[in-house]
Every structure is written in C-alpha cells, then in structure tokens.
Symmetry: C2
Subunit: 155 residues, 2 copies
C-alpha cells in the first residue's frame, strides 16, 4: 500500500460508525465507548455540535473510499500569548490494520499545517502517561512534553 | 479580608486590563504578554471571540469591585466518551496580593460546579511541569495528573 494514496478531509455524518469503531478499538477506548448498530444517539448529537461549530473540525483519513484514521482538531480563542489562537488535537486514531505505515504521521502533519494556516501559535494535545509509543510519535513530530495533563472526573 | 466576600462572574470588556495584568504578572507570563496602556488590540479581538462563543466563559473573581482573579473555562464537544462534553480550564491566575487565602480554590470549585451543571463528564487542564505548587493545588481539588501535555510551537 502506498501512503500517498491516503486523503484527508472533514468527516461527514456517514463516517461516524467508522470513527466510533476506531475510538473503541483501543485499550483505553474499549472501556468507555459503545460501538454498536445503531450507534447510541449521543454520538450523533455530539457530531452535530462539532459540525455546526467552525472552531471544531473532525478529520478523517480515507483510503479507497474507506475511513482508516481520525482526529479531532479544535481552535481555541484565548487571551494568553497576547490573545493568540491555540489549536488542540484530541481523539487521534489509525485503524489497527493500517498502523506503522506513516498514516498517523501524515494525518498529524496535515492538521498541523491546517492550524498554521488558520493562524494558531501552538498545537497542543495530551496523551495518557501510559501511552509511551504515542509520546515518541508526537516527539518525532516536534511536540515537547512540557506540561502535566490533569483531569477531574465528574461522573 | 474574608474570602466569602469574593464573588465570581463572567468577565466584561472593562475587566480586560486587570485580567491581562494578572496573566503578565507571572514568571512564564511575563515572557509572553504585553500589559501596557492601551492594551494591544489582539487582546480585545480575542476577548470579543470568547464573549461571542457560548462554549467559552472568561471568569473573574471580584472583591469590593476589584478584579483579583481569573480563569478561562471552555466546553468542548467531543465524540469520545460516547459523545461526552468536556470542560477545559486555562489561564488561571489570582492577583499576587491575594494569594494563599483560598480564592483560587473557591474560583476553581465555582468553575467545576458550573461544568457539572452544564453536563461535562470531565474537567481537564494542563500546567507547566515546572509549576510544582500548581500541581499540588489541583491535586487538592481532586485532579489527577494522568496525562502528558505536549505542545508544538508554530511561531
């Protein structure tokens, strides 16, 4: 398979099952997602909110008409850094069948370029401390692990 | 001074100089902000964007009509966690003259309660690895440092 045949674009509602399947197909994701037919309505509701908001872009990687990767890119207006726009990336996944071929890296570079064009001064993300492979992956893309990511669960 | 005299509310444009002063009055902030009269226009532009977006809330703590604390609370629609809403907090500051009196803690609790009412399943934030005091402060509020926060500077 040639990586350059992979395209990146904004997600459509029809892509939702493929995206949720990838979110669920993961050690941490399997504990918190529900990939079933039909999809729980909460996914569609969240998709609608994301699609309506010009500061949110749900991205998919596509190969021969099949969705094989995803990430959620968001733009966050902020006062800090002299009112500088931040880009943030969440929920990065590549289909397990297609991992190790540079698709995730190309998808991230595409999102980084998109952030740059939009005028963001930084791209930020967090990854679970346990995902050592992910840390190396992002370091190779130029990210620096300067911050501690903290979470408070409300449920 | 009694902490219970401190009130929390959404910021108004007139609060902007006080907020930027606090963002700048800090070891890391002083390197990247410009607190001057008049304020650089980029701050006002960012404030307008934040104010127009119902997923963003710039919060201030007020004591006797004076702004002495701030944080930026944002709500992020997301597909993960079954389409669960995330709350995120950035740019937390308390005026140096009023630190150590529980004001930051009360302001955070107020923001956490607001996130809960809005239906967020998590509150997330990142702090620079060098801010050991901040880590302890957030841990006391129940936050857990489960993630590595990574940044890629685009400027």
């Amino acid at each position: 398979m040639k990586t350059d045949a992979v395209g990146f674009r904004l997600a459509k509602q029809a892509d939702l099952p493929a995206i949720v399947r990838m979110l669920a197909d993961d050690e941490l994701g399997s504990q918190r997602e529900r990939y079933e037919e039909p999809l729980p309505e909460s996914y569609t509701a969240a998709f609608d909110q994301i699609e309506r908001d010009s500061n949110h872009e749900l991205i998919v990687a596509e190969l021969n008409g099949e969705v094989i990767g995803t990430l959620h890119l968001m733009f966050l207006p902020s006062l800090s850094f002299q009112g500088g726009l931040r880009a943030q990336i969440e929920s990065v996944r590549v289909d397990k069948l297609y991992q190790g071929q540079g698709i995730g890296s190309d998808m991230m570079k595409w999102a980084i370029e998109r952030s740059q064009k939009r005028g963001a001064h930084v791209v930020q993300l967090t990854t679970h401390q346990s995902r050592a492979d992910a840390h190396r992956f992002y370091e190779r893309l130029g990210f620096k692990g300067t911050h501690l990511g903290m979470k408070l669960s409300l449920k």
